[in-house]
């Protein structure tokens, strides 16, 4: 049976989303056929706005409203501009914000160095970071890239690139996750946790 063109087209589009297979895509499409037209229209408009109404903040490269550049965090005077938290992705900003312990500003790299995949420093916002630090006002750069091989390489690379700029460069601590299990912890994490132990 051939599906009507609009149906098959939307199924195809849904299938391109991460974690959505052909079955889920069809279910979503047939669900949308049954909902009030207004709801479907809202979804469509939200999708269109997603690209039309957002942009990268020209300072930190996080996602922001087209009308708000620099972004809300970069504008907020209550935040400490001398403290810069460098993360791989916009979602990481959300994660750090949720932790509620950070009151500085951010810099989003949009990826991590991965030579095997052909992603080098020039594909990330590293040059922009160095330029931002060079302009002054930053005292500490916290490298909050993922504790993966790619994240470590990115952190080491940035550390080298920032040498001689007179800023303090720090790296997030590595250790045991809350609710984790010592028995199943890998050697690297455990060694780092021992190294970074603190007095009680």
């Amino acid at each position: 049976m051939t599906l009507p063109k609009p149906v098959s087209r939307l199924i195809e589009q849904f299938q391109r989303l991460p974690g959505v297979g052909p079955k889920t895509a069809s279910r979503l499409v047939y669900h949308l056929l049954r909902v009030p037209e207004e709801q479907a229209r809202n979804l469509g408009e939200a999708l269109l706005d997603l690209h039309a109404q957002t942009r990268f903040c020209s300072v930190c490269f996080n996602i922001t409203d087209v009308s708000t550049d620099p972004c809300a965090v970069c504008r907020d005077d209550k935040r400490d501009g001398s403290l810069l938290c460098v993360v791989e992705a916009p979602l990481d900003v959300q994660a750090v914000e949720r932790a509620q312990g950070f009151h500085g500003r951010y810099h989003v790299l949009h990826g991590a160095i991965s030579p095997v995949e052909g992603i080098g420093p020039e594909n990330l916002k590293i040059g922009e970071l160095v330029e931002r630090v060079r302009k002054g006002g930053v005292q500490e750069v916290i490298l909050a890239t993922n504790p993966s091989m790619e994240g470590e390489a990115t952190a080491m690379y940035i550390h080298r690139a920032l040498q001689g700029q007179g800023v303090r460069v720090t790296r997030l601590a590595r250790g045991l996750p809350v609710g984790g299990d010592l028995e199943y912890t890998d050697e690297t994490t455990l060694a780092k946790a021992l190294e970074g132990r603190s007095a009680m």
Partner: protein, 258 residues
Amino acid sequence: MSRERTYQTEAVVLRRRNWGEADRILTLFTPLRGKIRVRAVGVRKPASRKAGHLELFHRATLFLAKGRDFDIITQAETVEAYSPLREDLIGSAAASYAVELLDRLSPEESENAAAYRLLVRTLEQLSAGGDPALALRCYDLKLLEYSGYKPELSLCTVCGGEIRAEDQFFSPARGGAVCPRCADRAEGRFPVTLAALKVLRHIQRSELEEALQLPVGKSTLEELESILQRYIQYLLESPMRSRKFYSEVSRPRGEGGV
């Protein structure tokens, strides 16, 4: 393969890519099955028991269950993490180069135990902090051999005559040396010095540990890299992606390095 639903293997992690909500697809190299792709479920969650054992370059013992499209990792235990690479930018860039070359030269599911041993010994060498320049050239030559692309360096690949003690040519298309008298008949050839050719032949003949001891000057090392890269690029039909980053970080500061 047996029809058992689960099996155990040692493996080195060559590549990883995110999959679904919290999974990853890993490209592994194993001693008995060569390159395989498997699925690691839930490894992007912080409390995952497997995540720390499945980092890039890690050598681990794995238990896998047969899956429909990908086999699924059920347990993982580190054999060697090569931890110093995590704190060594040049070393990790060199290791990236090593895994990329193996990944690109190897078809899936094709046993190559010699290549596995070579990878492990090279990662050991890099993680011990030795100079990667010679280690990578030995790796290039040995891996080309184990993958069926051993360059012919003793006989002219055009006339079959013995290569004499004089400056020669190399032709990627012919897969080896070309003597000066046949040079015009070999397309894409380029000149190689006698010194470089001798080192290449020595590495080819020797065990890896012995080859790594060889005293090789900087300019010869650079020539070796140029010869082998041109050959590898010819075979792969595109340049090595990780080479650019390695060159950038291994140059000293001030010479265009960071």
